[in-house]
């Protein structure tokens, strides 16, 4: 059996470090020892395949039992590609978020903001043949956290993705353009590379926007691609 093609390693600064002093929860949770660099075997190069037959998709968070959630309805759409530009087809995308008041429908969230009976805040969609996904939701609210004095998380939606190999597994957050909290957020700022940070910010998109219905935002997600090897030529 031939060896799987390894996945590319991240360029310096383009991923957040585990030890980020400004993010308090990392202090006792970030490992102190350097990780062991593991060769990519079938374990890292294979991944579960989720089918909409077993796990039905749910692409509209803005309505529960025919009742509209409170807040500004939005559409989020984009593509899931790898670093080589290959679309991830039929890939499960899981998302979750706070409601328009900045409160999660979650037992652990005790923020003094109202819950919305018509908003749960999670969805599951599958990419199409071009790697495209989209879902409808309401724009989440900012919420406070206890990291530092007067700390507020920028408005965000959490994303979870699987690639074709478990080494591509990704959980990230999508932010909104123009949010003044981004410049103050230790989680967002932990990634040193400014371009890498900017890719976490969705773009307003009139093409995604639907008349008389909802504003649209585009958020493309890039999973790790194959590592370049000395034996491969770059094809234009």
């Amino acid at each position: 059996m031939s060896d799987p093609i390894p996945y590319a390693r991240a360029l310096p600064g383009t991923q957040p470090p585990l030890d980020a002093p400004a993010y308090g929860s990392t202090h006792s949770r970030a490992p102190r020892q350097a990780p062991i660099r593991a060769p990519h075997t079938l374990t890292e190069a294979s991944s579960p395949r989720f089918s909409p037959q077993l796990l039905p998709g749910h692409a509209d968070m803005s309505v529960v039992d025919g009742q509209a959630a409170m807040g500004e309805r939005i559409i989020v759409a984009g593509r899931v590609l790898d670093e080589a530009g290959a679309p991830l087809r039929g890939s499960m995308v899981e998302v979750w978020q706070a409601n328009s008041a900045g409160r999660y429908h979650h037992a652990r969230d005790q923020h003094d903001a109202p819950l919305d009976p018509n908003f749960v805040g999670r969805a599951r969609v599958f990419t199409d043949e071009d790697g495209r996904y989209s879902f409808t939701t309401i724009r989440p609210g900012a919420y406070p956290w206890r990291n530092h004095a007067n700390a507020w998380r920028p408005v965000h939606i959490h994303f979870s993705l699987f690639g074709q190999g478990f080494a591509q597994r990704l959980i990230t957050q999508m932010y909104f353009p123009g949010d003044p909290l981004l410049a103050l957020d230790p989680i967002f700022l932990a990634t040193a590379d400014a371009e890498a940070r900017q890719r976490l910010v969705a773009q307003f998109d009139l093409e995604v926007t639907q008349p008389d219905y909802a504003l649209g935002y585009r958020f493309d997600i890039i999973l790790r691609g194959p590592a370049a090897t000395p034996f491969e030529e770059v094809h234009a």
């Binding site: 060896d3 360029l11 383009t14 991923q15 957040p16 470090p17 585990l18 980020a20 993010y23 308090g24 929860s25 990392t26 202090h27 006792s28 949770r29 970030a30 490992p31 102190r32 020892q33 350097a34 990780p35 062991i36 593991a38 060769p39 990519h40 075997t41 079938l42 374990t43 890292e44 294979s46 991944s47 579960p48 395949r49 670093e83 899981e94 979750w96 706070a98 999660y104 979650h106 652990r108 969230d109 999670r122 965000h156 478990f166 080494a167 597994r169 990704l170 959980i171 990230t172 957050q173 989680i187 990634t191 371009e195 890498a196 890719r199 976490l200 997600i221 890039i222 999973l223 691609g225």
Partner: protein, 177 residues
Amino acid sequence: MSTAHQTAGPYWHLIDFPEWADLLREDGPNAGATGEPVIIQGVITDGDGALVTDAMVEIWHADPQGDYDAGFQGFGRCTTDAEGTFRFATLKPGPVPGRGNTLQAPHIQISIFARGLLSHLTTRLYFAGEPLNETDPLLALIPADRRSTIIAEPVSPGTWQLDIRLQGGAETVFLDI
């Protein structure tokens, strides 16, 4: 450039499906699969020795024959409970080919997502007493005095325990994959 990881945070919703911890459930993708049933469990603690009660744990492993693509879906997901414990029911995986015609000992990949982890942690679980552990290519890369941090011990018939320490003394070996 691949998209940057961001923490799953404390309010993640992916755990709204507790049945995913049972890979052998009747309405799941592996109903009727045969092999050696095992329980995989452990306690996660942080650098202060505090229980990590808000983590999401995922596992990924081969089927009893060591295959990843023969129909068995070796994926599970669960949360740590109030005691910091994760627990999965699955079938023991077989040996998996490694790179360059090597053979890897039976193992389970483990990913940990939580508040305070800007990107998830990856490690593996091996089974104590497995003869192939002696020649496993990945175990060979780990200093001998740290290997035990990723080798589960049997605590009762069919139940294997691997505690995970995120930081500090006897810190678990994590992998850069």
